[in-house]
C-alpha cells in the first residue's frame, strides 16, 4: 500500500516543516488526528488493523526521529541530547524521557537480531498498542508478545546506555 504510506509521509513532513522551535510536539497530535481519519476512511484503504498500525507506528517513529534531529540540531547540544516532551494540554503522556534518536538506532540493530521484537516495540511505543492489541495485530499470543517485549526492553535499555557512555 505505497500510496497510503506516502500520504502519511507527506502529512508528517508537512507538520514537521511547520513545527516551530518553541513548540512541543503538538504536531504529533496533529499527525495522530490525521492517522485516525485515515484509519476511519470509507472505504478503508487498509487491508486490516495490523496493516494500519504497522504503517502508522513506523511513520510515527520516523516523524519523531526527524523531529528530534531537527530540534536537536537547532540546539547546540546536538542530536543526542534531545528528549521529547509532549504537550500536557493534549492529554498525552506528560514526559517521555527517551532519547528517540538512540532508541531508533538501537531498534534498527534489534531488528537485525529479531525483527518481530523490533516491530513489537514499534507498535507499543510509537502507536500505543497494549500487549493484547499487539498480540491481535501481529497474530501471536499475548504471552509471546510479553516475553519478546521484556527482553527487547532490557536489550534496548542496555544498548542506549552503552551508546550514551561512548
Amino acid at each position: 500500500m505505497p500510496l497510503v504510506y506516502s500520504e502519511l509521509r507527506r502529512l508528517a513532513h508537512y507538520y514537521l516543516q511547520r513545527e516551530r522551535s518553541d513548540h512541543t510536539l503538538q504536531s504529533t497530535a496533529l499527525v495522530h488526528e490525521a492517522f485516525l481519519r485515515l484509519a476511519g476512511q470509507n472505504p478503508p484503504q487498509w487491508q486490516n488493523r495490523a496493516h494500519f498500525f504497522g504503517i502508522a507506528a513506523h511513520v510515527m517513529r520516523q516523524i519523531l526521529v526527524e523531529y528530534a534531529r531537527a530540534h536537536g540540531a537547532a540546539k547546540r547540544g546536538g542530536a543526542n541530547s534531545c528528549k521529547l516532551t509532549l504537550d500536557e494540554a493534549l492529554d498525552l503522556p506528560k514526559q517521555v524521557d527517551v532519547d528517540v534518536i538512540a532508541l531508533d538506532t538501537a531498534l534498527d540493530r534489534l531488528s537485525e537480531l529479531d525483527p518481530q521484537q523490533s516491530r513489537i516495540v514499534e507498535l507499543r511505543f510509537f502507536a500505543g498498542l497494549t500487549i493484547e492489541d499487539t498480540s491481535e495485530v501481529m497474530g501471536i499470543s499475548p504471552a509471546t508478545v510479553k516475553r519478546d517485549w521484556t527482553s527487547a526492553r532490557a536489550w534496548l535499555h542496555r544498548e542506549i546506555a552503552r551508546s550514551a557512555s561512548k
Binding site: 502529512l11 508537512y14 507538520y15 511547520r18 510536539l25 504529533t28 497530535a29 496533529l30 499527525v31 495522530h32 488526528e33 490525521a34 492517522f35 485516525l36 481519519r37 484509519a39 476511519g40 476512511q41 470509507n42 498500525f53 502508522a56 507506528a57 510515527m60 519523531l64 521529547l84 509532549l86 493534549l90 492529554d91 498525552l92 503522556p93 514526559q95 517521555v96 524521557d97 527517551v98 532508541l103 537485525e112 537480531l113 529479531d114 516495540v121 507499543r124 511505543f125 510509537f126 502507536a127 500505543g128 498498542l129 497494549t130 492489541d133 516475553r147 521484556t150 527482553s151 526492553r153 532490557a154 536489550w155 534496548l156 535499555h157 542496555r158 546506555a161
Partner: protein, 314 residues
Amino acid sequence: MTPERWQQIREVFDRAVSLPSEKRAAYVNAICANDSDLLHEVESLLSSDDHAGTGFLNSPVVDLTHPLPNRAANRVGSRIGAYNILEEIGRGGMGEVYRASRADGQYEKEVAIKVVRGGYDTAAVLDRFRHERQILASLDHPNIARLLDGGTTEEGIPYLVMELIEGTPIDQYCNAQHLNVTARLRLFLEVCSAVQYAHQHLVIHRDIKPGNILVTKEGTPKLLDFGIAKILDPVSGNESTISGPMTPEYASPEQIRNEPITTATDVYSLGVVLYQLVAGRSPYPTKARTAHEFARAICESEPERPSTMISKAE
C-alpha cells in the same frame, strides 16, 4: 552478535526473568557454567531490566488506539487558511461552522467557515469540491449565500468559506414576527426565486430546510449551503444516504429511495417547508421520529391538506 546468539541469550534471560529474583543467579550460573560470555550477557540484561524499571518505554509517545480529546472546540482563536476563527456558530452532521475574518485584512467582511467533520472521505470531498466550486461560486443571487472559497486545514480537513448570514431560520422568523399567511407566502416566493435561479444554473440544493433558509434583520431570506450536500454526499448509490447530509424530515421520496436527484427534489422539500409555514406543523405524522419512520411516512402516506390540518386544530 548474531540472531542465533541472541536467541540463545534471550532464552536464558526469559526463563531467569520469570523466576523470583533470589533464584535467578543460581539458575543463570548453572545454565551458563560452560559459557562465560553467555553468563555475562544474561547478567547484564537482567541488570538492564532492573534499571529500566517500569518507566522505560512504558508510556507510548502516542496512543493511536484512542481518539484524541475533541480538538474542534479549540479552533476558536486559531487560523484556517487566511482566516482567523472568531466563534463557533453552528454544529451539525456535516461538521462545525465558525464565524471568521480575514487575517490579512484584505477585506473587512466576516465570513462563515464550514469545517467538514472527520469521517468523510477527504479526498473524495475535495475532488467534488474542485468540480463544483466554479459553478457554486458563480451563483450570484440576492437570496443565495455565496460560496467564497475553500481548501484544507493543516490537518487536511476540507473547509468551505461562505458569505456570513446573520439571521433566523424562516419558520422561527415567521412566528417571531407574527407574520400572516400573505407575508409568509411573500417571503416564500423569494426563496422560490433563489431556487429557480439555481436550477437554471443546473445546481440542485438537495438539503432545503428551514435551518438552511435564514431571514436577515432586513427581512431578506437567504439560502445557505447551495450544492454543499452534493459535495459531501457519499458516492451515490450508497445506502448511507439517510445518514448523510440530507435531513430526513425534508427529504423527497427519491432521496429516501436513493433514486436520481433532480430539480423536483428541491421542489418537494420546498413544499414541506411551505406546508410548515402555513400549517404550523410538519406534513408527516408527529409520531415520526426516526429516519426510518420518516422514510415510511414520506414514501407511503399522503399528507393531509394544510387547510384540513388547520381546521382540525381549531
